[in-house]
């Protein structure tokens, strides 16, 4: 008879034998897989959450900062061309394609006059305060994304008529003890009354407004001689900031455009990278440790399985299995456990990201390759973990395995 050929084990048979080996001990497989499940879930969830969180931070940064332009007179040596910006400049700016909102803002020099909410002096407490007084054009409120606690903001009519109305920043309102505007409360600048028509809740730009008393530009011009706005605040559409930054000075002061300076946002990409790197390094470390624990679990259980199945190994060798077939079966079993852990872990990790994002009203962000790569990572961990036990199984002499297994 010719010498026998190398024994063959078709892939389908190998997979079937490995599957049968795993299904024989479902409870143990489930417990073993748990380690990888936790590791992969932690890794997927942390990577996803770090991306979600940094996107949240950066998204917020992007949304406000990347659409923010401030135009103000340029300083030339010691002189500043203070009267370059025109009143009603916002009308010119709003005609530019890409401008969402625009307005002008100025500090009003009131000559040290104090503000009070009652016209009498209270000897027991402070009732008169030095507050920053500002003048805003009607469009400014939208451009700084102002939100009101109560009341309204002045419109073009108030400015045109130079009405004595003001809006208080929340800090100023607190100091002046003004909490509602339905009774049209008045505050006094020196002895002149101004009706409070609104109280701000927040602004996303020009935070100095929060502690200021803000009057219409027309009022400031008439009563305090405001010559020109100090700055123009523009909100652009996303992506239009560079274009508007070039066009705004020309629109505001066609003949003196060079006397204006434009403050456009910095590139947020560096910030995004920095935040994400910090978060990722920590989270990947945590996920890696979890995976290491999972890998040790698989290695341990596979080794125990090999030692328990010595008789089976001997039988398979007697039936014609080569050493590599024995090794392959244990490797497939451990890889399958790892892959199963990876699939379940990736699913749980994704659900965790969605759940946390839903609870925090964030937008869940996850690189699509992460849940796809997680089962492969699990399988790789299973493969590496199963290598030593598989080598031990393959090295067993059939005689010894049969004897020890009976």
């Amino acid at each position: 008879m010719p010498a026998p050929q190398r024994p063959r084990l078709p892939l389908r048979d190998l997979l079937a034998e490995a599957a049968a080996g795993l299904l024989a001990r479902p409870a143990r497989v489930a417990l073993t897989v748990l380690g990888t499940v936790v590791g992969v879930a932690a890794l997927v969830a942390t990577l996803g959450l770090s991306k979600t969180a940094s996107n949240q931070i950066v998204g917020h940064f992007d949304e406000v900062a990347s659409t923010d332009i401030v135009v103000s007179p340029a300083r030339r040596g010691t002189r500043t061309a203070t009267s370059v910006l025109p009143f009603r400049g916002e009308d010119r700016l709003q005609r530019l394609n890409g401008v969402v909102a625009a307005g002008t803002l100025s500090d009003v020099d009131v000559g040290g006059q104090l503000v009070s909410s009652v016209p009498v002096n209270d000897p027991l407490g402070q009732t008169r305060f030095q507050l920053p007084i500002k003048a805003a054009s009607p469009g400014l409120w939208r451009a700084v994304r102002a939100r009101l606690q109560t009341g309204r903001v002045p419109d073009a009519g108030h400015s045109a008529r130079a009405d004595r109305v003001v809006v208080l920043g929340p800090n100023a309102a607190q100091r002046l003890n003004v909490t509602r505007v339905d009774q049209q409360p008045a505050v006094f600048l020196d002895d002149r009354p101004y009706v409070v028509i609104g109280i701000l809740a927040s602004v996303e730009r020009q935070p100095s407004l929060l502690s200021a008393m803000v009057m219409p530009e027309g009022t400031a011009a008439r009563e305090f001689g405001l010559a020109a706005p100090a700055l123009a605040q523009i909100e652009t559409q996303v992506g239009a900031v560079e274009l508007i930054a070039r066009q705004a000075p020309l629109a505001l002061a066609p003949t003196q455009a060079r006397q204006l300076k434009v403050a456009a946002p910095p590139d947020p990409r560096e910030l995004r990278g920095a935040i994400r790197n910090d978060l990722n390094a920590l989270f990947v470390l945590l996920g890696g440790i979890s995976l290491l624990v999972g890998a040790i679990g698989i290695a341990n259980v596979t080794l125990v399985s090999v030692l328990e199945r010595v008789g089976e190994i001997g039988l398979r060798r007697a039936l014609g299995a080569a050493r590599r077939h024995i090794a392959a079966q244990f490797l497939v079993e451990s890889s399958a456990m790892g892959a199963l852990g990876g699939i379940i872990g990736a699913s749980i990790g994704t659900l965790v990201i969605v759940a946390i994002s839903a609870a925090r009203t964030w937008t869940p962000v996850l690189d699509p390759w992460i849940p796809l790569a997680a089962p492969l990572l699990g399988a790789l961990i299973g493969l590496l973990s199963g290598t030593y036990p598989a080598i031990r199984a393959a090295r067993m002499e059939p005689v010894d395995a049969l004897r020890a297994g009976t």
């Binding site: 008879m1 010498a3 026998p4 024989a24 007697a318 039936l319 014609g320 080569a322």
Partner: protein, 242 residues
């Protein structure tokens, strides 16, 4: 040598072909360890022709299991020459030995060695897995083997649901699948009661009558007496009976 036994040469007329014996051992020895060395086999000479059915009987520690392991290619001799179906075992690689075991040999063990979590028929089908034969028809072939040993009705049971005698029949069916050249039985009745022992021996007699080549080791003279050819082994040396 009992060359005139009536069961010899019944294997489908192959006696006329110039074929080598199934087993040919020439001066085979096996020594374990070195300090001091233990000689389990000493200069064993044994030829098993096609259709032979030999019982090797010996007490515990006589070397009969070592002999079976060497004939079964589970172990290699330290001296002499061992040929299985014309293949010099010493010339074969590990892989080729595995292939030889899978294709030419069938094993029956004292403890049945059935996989507890696989059904009876899956245990029988396992013997074809490492031969690389197609999966098509595997179940039918396994069922035919189970029918041959009389436990086809237990095909879908787990081994634990079967009696010892039935489990050994399943193990014999597994060994017979794929028509091996040689059936090697290691104390096949060692774990069975007298009734099951009788049933298994009856099955063996039927296989021998069909021309199966068998090598059976046992410590039980009564079991050995049921085989057409008997050899005893003591201290690693064979002595053939008439």
């Amino acid at each position: 040598m009992d060359r005139d036994h009536p069961h010899r040469r019944r294997d489908r007329g192959l006696a006329l072909l110039p074929r080598s014996p199934v087993v040919a051992l020439h001066g085979v020895s096996r020594t374990y360890g070195a300090d001091p060395p233990v000689q389990a086999l000493r200069g064993v000479e044994l030829v098993v022709e096609r259709g032979d059915a030999i019982a090797i009987v010996g007490p515990s520690g006589s070397g009969k299991s070592t002999l079976l392991n060497i004939v079964g290619c589970l172990d290699r001799p330290t001296g002499g020459r061992c040929e299985i179906d014309g293949n010099d075992v010493s010339q074969l690689s590990e892989d080729e030995l595995s292939a030889l075991r899978g294709r030419l040999l069938g094993f029956v063990f004292q403890t049945f060695n059935l996989l507890a979590h696989r059904t009876v028929i899956e245990n029988v089908m396992l013997s074809e897995v490492y031969r690389g034969e197609p999966r098509e028809g595997r179940r039918e072939r396994a069922l035919a083997a189970l029918e041959r040993v009389g436990v086809a009705d237990r095909a879908d049971f787990l081994p634990v649901k079967l009696s010892g005698g039935e489990q050994q029949r399943v193990a014999i069916a597994r060994a017979l699948t794929g028509s091996p050249s040689l059936l090697l039985c290691d104390e096949p009745t060692g774990n069975l009661d007298s009734a099951n022992t009788a049933a298994v021996l009856e099955l063996f007699e039927g296989l021998v009558a069909d021309g199966m080549t068998m090598l059976l080791i046992t410590h039980d003279d009564a079991v050995a007496a049921r085989m057409p050819r008997r050899t005893s082994i003591i201290d690693g040396r064979l002595r053939e009976h008439g």
